[in-house]
């Protein structure tokens, strides 16, 4: 008996290292997670990035200011309009040009539509991560309609190159406003369907509530922004706190997590903030579509962007959080240095903080709630 026990103690247990990704169904691209597991429990996570690095920042130094716009599309490909907008905002700040009001409104409309489209992907893929496949197809179906609207406006469905420095490439087509309103009327009841099949499903709540709680302090320390930060209950939205474009003219609320199903800042809150934000975006869109003034969208487009000296940091609330562009102009038609602050990068960095100690399935759910886009993290 004693001998047997001694033998048993020789069976030492050890941690197993699991490589999740870069080819894995739920890492949302080519992220690699090195996971140390103790049974199902995850004791350490190391995110390894860089599989999609395309030298965006260095590349910008060889392109004229106008030519950079299509490349900003390719950073966050799920919210390309937002990236266009963020970049254009930075260059306009550097150029110190006044943008026509119509252009401002068009940009707000595009940004909010894009925010909805991006959140639809986030909600759908999050459902996919926790095992519900049906919500994903429904959200993608509705996103298609937004992409149709974008195609109607600028001819492209994913990578638009629509928002230019100083304006937009095309004015809105005639029936765009009517079609967008039609879409909004269609879309609002759909949110209730997502809630019914996913948000308030008991299994879903069990999987996400109280899981991977991100406290406001940790979120702020890590530089999290966007829905991830707001999910922790921090009322911080650049559209409200530092209004750019014409956002100060609209009436909307900042969606924050309130710990309805568990603690504040858990995975469910981060998910639900996106649902509320879609509703708020619909609100903004309705106001913007009603107020949009007339004007020439090309009035302020400079013939050739040439910036003498100077630098600028401009921040912008994209679907994933704060996108920052730091541009140093070198006196030529090309920038000397472009630095992009990627919101998803900061949001991803918090993963090992909040997901350690949870199970493998929870890591997937937490990662899904951070809603990362690798194109933007790796740039």
């Amino acid at each position: 008996m004693a001998e047997q026990l001694k033998d048993f103690s020789l069976l030492h247990s050890d941690e197993m290292i699991l490589n999740m990704g870069p080819q894995h169904p739920s890492t949302h691209g080519v992220l690699r997670l090195k996971i140390h597991t103790d049974g199902e429990i995850v004791s350490r996570i190391e995110p390894i990035i860089g599989y999609l690095h395309r030298c965006f920042e260095k590349h910008c130094e060889f392109l004229t200011y106008e030519q950079i716009v299509p490349f900003t599309d390719r950073t966050d490909y799920l919210a390309a309009m937002n990236m266009n907008d963020a970049y254009a905002l930075a260059v306009e700040k550097l150029l110190e040009i006044e943008i026509p009001e119509r252009v401002q409104y068009i940009r707000v409309i595009m940004a909010e539509l894009q925010r909805i489209a991006s959140h639809l992907v986030a909600v759908g893929t999050f459902g996919l991560d926790v095992g519900g496949i049906t919500p994903f197809t429904w959200t993608i179906r509705d996103r298609e309609r937004i992409l149709d609207l974008f195609e109607y406006v600028c001819g492209a469905r994913l990578l638009y190159n629509y928002i230019w420095v100083g304006g937009v490439s095309h004015d809105l087509p005639e029936k765009f406003i009517r079609r967008t309103l039609e879409f909004l009327d269609y879309f609002e009841p759909q949110i209730e369907e997502y809630n019914q099949i996913l948000t308030y499903n008991k299994i879903f709540i069990e999987r996400t509530a109280d899981v991977g709680t991100l406290t406001p302090e940790v979120a702020i320390n890590y530089g999290c922004t966007g829905p991830v930060l707001r999910g922790s209950g921090v009322k911080w939205d650049l559209r409200k706190t530092e209004p750019y474009a014409v956002y100060d003219k609209f009436d909307f609320d900042i969606a924050v997590g309130d710990g309805r199903m568990g603690t504040v800042g858990d995975t469910w809150d981060r998910y639900f903030v996106r649902i509320i934000e879609m509703k708020e975006s619909v609100k903004i869109l309705r106001q913007a579509l009603a107020q949009i003034p007339d004007g020439d969208v090309h009035a302020a487009v400079p013939k050739k962007v040439r910036i003498k000296e100077g630098s600028v940091y401009s921040r912008y609330e994209s679907a994933r959080g704060e996108v920052g562009f730091y541009i140093i102009a070198g006196g030529k038609d090309k920038p000397m240095r472009v630095k992009m602050r990627s919101p998803a990068f900061c949001n991803l960095s918090v993963l090992s903080e909040i997901a350690e100690g949870w199970m493998i399935s929870d890591v997937i759910a937490i990662l899904g709630s951070l809603d990362i886009v690798l194109g933007e993290i790796d740039r």
Partner: protein, 364 residues
């Protein structure tokens, strides 16, 4: 006892040779082929059914290009009926990969163990009155026992693949299947207590005489619900598909399998779905009795072995649909929640049920 084997042996015996050993071999081979055919056809049909059901629930239209019988395309239910046949051909001619570091013998063996488990289970499953390969006295018990062999195959498959994802899937699966045998057994035991026999024929005969079990008493209804839920878990389907969990474990214990061997897994999975559905319809929904019998109406031309086959399959298809309906509606549970659900919800309820049904039987 009138089983298919018995009657075939009788026929072969009467053919003159009198050699009962030859008759037995012939009878076994023929019965085996029939069961195999049912399993294969079930897999093909169920895959198509599942694709279409999931597609319609997700606002898609599913396969619609590979039609046979001359029609193709369109949004009809049968628009792409040839798709699964094409997929079968694809699976059979696909390269069969054995990883270099895998335990090759076990890896080759594992699918067949799983297949044998569902094959053996089928032997005891009656498809109509008297239409059963072998009519056991202890039919319910036999099916529970034969069905649990499959988990050995799953563990072997997960271990021999030498892949971490497979290992996780196998261990999860083992824990899950062993746990969920208990609520299944307890809910079936309720019926056995009432009927007093483990034989399927007796159970159906009892229902013909009295009433169908799902409306027998509130406790029997709860047992029915528990059986369906645990049955879904037993077949590793969503929301209990944590062994496969494609978003977590890639494909669980099937990760390293491909081609023919993978298709055997697939076939066994759908055979298990069919077995669970048939047993649910036999035990709780009156088996081969016509649905009119609930209302006490007996139409003679709606009864008989062939009609019995029809009724049993209609009921089974309903259960298969319910399983698919679950799958395309719910997200997936976590491992610990799965265990919580089994041990802290289903088993207490099933045990309480047993006590209450005993009291019920004493009173009425």
């Amino acid at each position: 006892m009138n089983s298919v084997i018995d009657s075939m042996m009788k026929i072969f015996g009467s053919l003159g040779t009198g050699n009962s050993a030859l008759g037995l071999v012939l009878a076994v081979v023929i019965a085996g082929l029939v069961v195999f055919t049912i399993m294969a056809v079930m897999a093909i049909v169920a895959v198509y059914f599942e694709r279409k059901v999931s597609a319609f629930m997700q606002d898609r239209i599913g396969p619609m290009e590979v039609g046979i019988f001359g029609f193709k395309g369109g949004k009809q239910f049968w628009g792409g009926i040839g798709q699964t046949l094409a997929d079968t051909v694809k699976l059979l001619v696909k390269e069969d990969i054995l990883p270099k570091e895998a335990d090759k013998k076990l890896m080759i063996m594992a699918p067949f163990i799983i297949f044998i488990a569902s094959f053996l289970t089928f032997i005891g499953v009656p498809l109509s009155d008297g239409l059963v390969v072998s009519d056991f006295n202890i039919g319910v018990f036999y099916i529970m026992a034969a069905g649990s062999i499959g988990v050995i195959g799953i563990i072997l498959a997960g271990w021999s693949s030498n892949n971490k994802w497979s290992l996780y899937g196998a261990l999860r699966s083992a824990a899950q299947i062993i746990s969920y045998e208990i609520p299944i057994g307890l809910s079936l035991m309720l019926v056995v207590i009432v009927v007093g026999s483990l034989n399927f024929g007796d159970i159906v005969a009892w229902q013909a005489d009295h009433r169908w079990f799902f409306i027998h008493s509130p406790f029997a209804f709860i047992a029915f619900i528990i059986y369906v839920i645990a049955g879904v878990a037993e077949t590793n389907r969503t929301p209990f598909d944590i062994p496969e969990a494609e978003s977590e474990l890639v494909a669980g214990w099937m990760t390293e399998y491909s081609g023919f061997r993978w298709s055997i897994f697939f076939m066994s999975e759908y055979a298990n779905v069919l077995i669970i559905s048939i047993i649910a319809s036999i035990i709780f929904l009156g088996g081969w009795l016509s649905p009119l019998a609930i209302f006490g109406v007996h139409v003679s031309w709606l009864e008989g072995p062939l009609w019995g086959l029809f009724w049993i399959f209609s009921k089974a298809v309903f259960f298969v649909f319910v399983m698919m309906w679950f799958r395309w509606t719910f997200p997936r549970l976590r491992v610990d929640q799965l265990m919580y659900f089994c041990w802290k919800v289903l088993i207490p309820f099933a045990l309480a049920n047993l006590i209450f049904i005993s009291v019920w039987e004493l009173i009425f």
